[in-house]
Every structure is written in structure tokens, then in C-alpha cells.
Amino acid sequence: MIELGSILVFLVIGYVFGTLAEKRHFRSLREREVLSQELPALVADTVDTTQQIEQAYLVVGATVIAIDYFKAFAAALRSFFGGRVAVYETLLERARRESILRMKAEAAGCDLIVNVRIETSSIGGEHQGKNKINSVECYAYGTAIRYARH
């Protein structure tokens, strides 16, 4: 009975704080994305060679994000029936968008980022029962290009 009660409490805490944090994060992502629109990040690897290039260097942005108790529970239920696990989709989207923004922050003063690659890896915790930490790392990297100013 006590165990069931604590699971319920954790679920409520996870749901309330997880949802709040997610909303706040999405709002901040949207605001910062608007601000960083002037610096395009391209997957293509071509650079305008008619302009003189002053600098070209590697930029990296990484984020490790954890799954909350409620999401883990919802996903476990989902895996019972199969189908889309929407709670994980938003989590990965947040991590990726955050990584891209961090990468762009490293390229401050540059004109564009080319050859952007995004990778995702699961950073597993201790797989012994309770202390399992479900977290995912997303990182984005590319080459920042700065054209010479005339």
C-alpha cells in the first residue's frame, strides 16, 4: 500500500514538474531560435568560394536530457500496446533543438555553419533495478564559416 502510494506521489511530481519544465523549455527554445535566425545552419557542405574566408572552425553543442518518472511510466504503458511514444518524441526534440542553439552560440560572429551533423546516443545509468537513469545525449556539430569583411 505504501509502495503504491509512493509510486503515485512520484508520478504526480514527475507529471507536474516535468510538464512545467517542458513548457518553459519550449518557450525559451522558440525565443532563442528567433534570435539566432540570422545564422543559418546547413547540412550541405558547400561554401561560397567567391568570397574570401577568414575563419573556418569546428563548433559543437551538446545536451544530456533525462526522462521524468511520469514519462517513463507512460512509455512503459505505451510499449504494452505499441505505437508512437509521444512523450519521448518531445524529449528528443528538446535535446536536439537545444544542441543546435548551443552550437550556434559557439559560432558567434560567424556567417554560417555548414556540414551540420546531429547524433543521438543513449547514456545508460546503472542497470540494476531502481537506480536506472534514463538519459539521452544529443549533440550537433558543424563547421562555422566567417567571411572576410570588406
Binding site: G14, V114, E126, G142
Partner: protein, 104 residues
């Protein structure tokens, strides 16, 4: 040292090619950070401790890559790729590789 994930250096010419250079580090978690991370797992969100830890480890892997490139006489590394593997519970390997070249 120029490091880029393009297969050329914009505005520069490659004059010599030295082949593959790599850098890797296996990073284990810190007990204190791990404890905080396990608390964070209830509410979700970013694990800042882990982000820092992996960034430090990745920088170290890049340093090793640069050291190797320097030792063969290169002044640029092209086509850099990263990869992360979870080696065992609680440890991850960060691996970075690229092609060492000399540019003018």
C-alpha cells in the same frame, strides 16, 4: 591547428596528406553527480552535470586528436566525426577521428 568536419578547408589548399588520426577517452560518472542525476530523473529535464562531463571528455578526445596530428606534422584535421558508445553501465567512450593534412 584547423579542425573542421568539411572534407576541405575553405580558402586553403591541401599540400600534404597524413591519413587517419584519432582521439578517444572513456569517461566514468562521478558519484556526486550521479546522485544528483538520479534525483533529477523524477522530474526530468536537462542533466547539466552530465552535459559538462561529456563536454570535458569530448574536449579531451579532441586534444588527443590534435596531439596525434601535431606529432605527424599536420596543421589541420579534416572530416572530423564524433561517436559515443556506452561501454558499460556508467561509462561511455567518446571517440573522435579525422584526416590529418597540411595546408598552406
Amino acid at each position: 591547428m584547423v579542425i573542421t568536419n568539411l572534407n576541405y578547408v575553405p580558402g586553403k589548399e591541401i599540400i600534404e596528406h597524413y591519413g587517419l588520426v584519432t582521439g578517444s577517452t572513456v569517461q566514468s560518472k562521478h558519484f556526486g553527480r550521479d546522485f544528483l542525476a538520479s534525483l533529477k530523473n523524477f522530474v526530468g529535464g536537462e542533466l547539466k552535470g552530465y552535459t559538462e562531463l561529456l563536454n570535458e571528455a569530448r574536449n579531451q578526445a579532441i586534444e588527443r586528436l590534435v596531439a596525434q596530428a601535431t606529432s605527424v606534422g599536420a596543421n589541420a584535421v579534416l572530416n572530423v566525426r564524433f561517436s559515443t558508445t556506452s561501454v558499460s553501465a556508467g561509462a561511455a567512450e567518446l571517440y573522435v577521428y579525422g584526416t590529418a593534412v597540411r595546408i598552406n
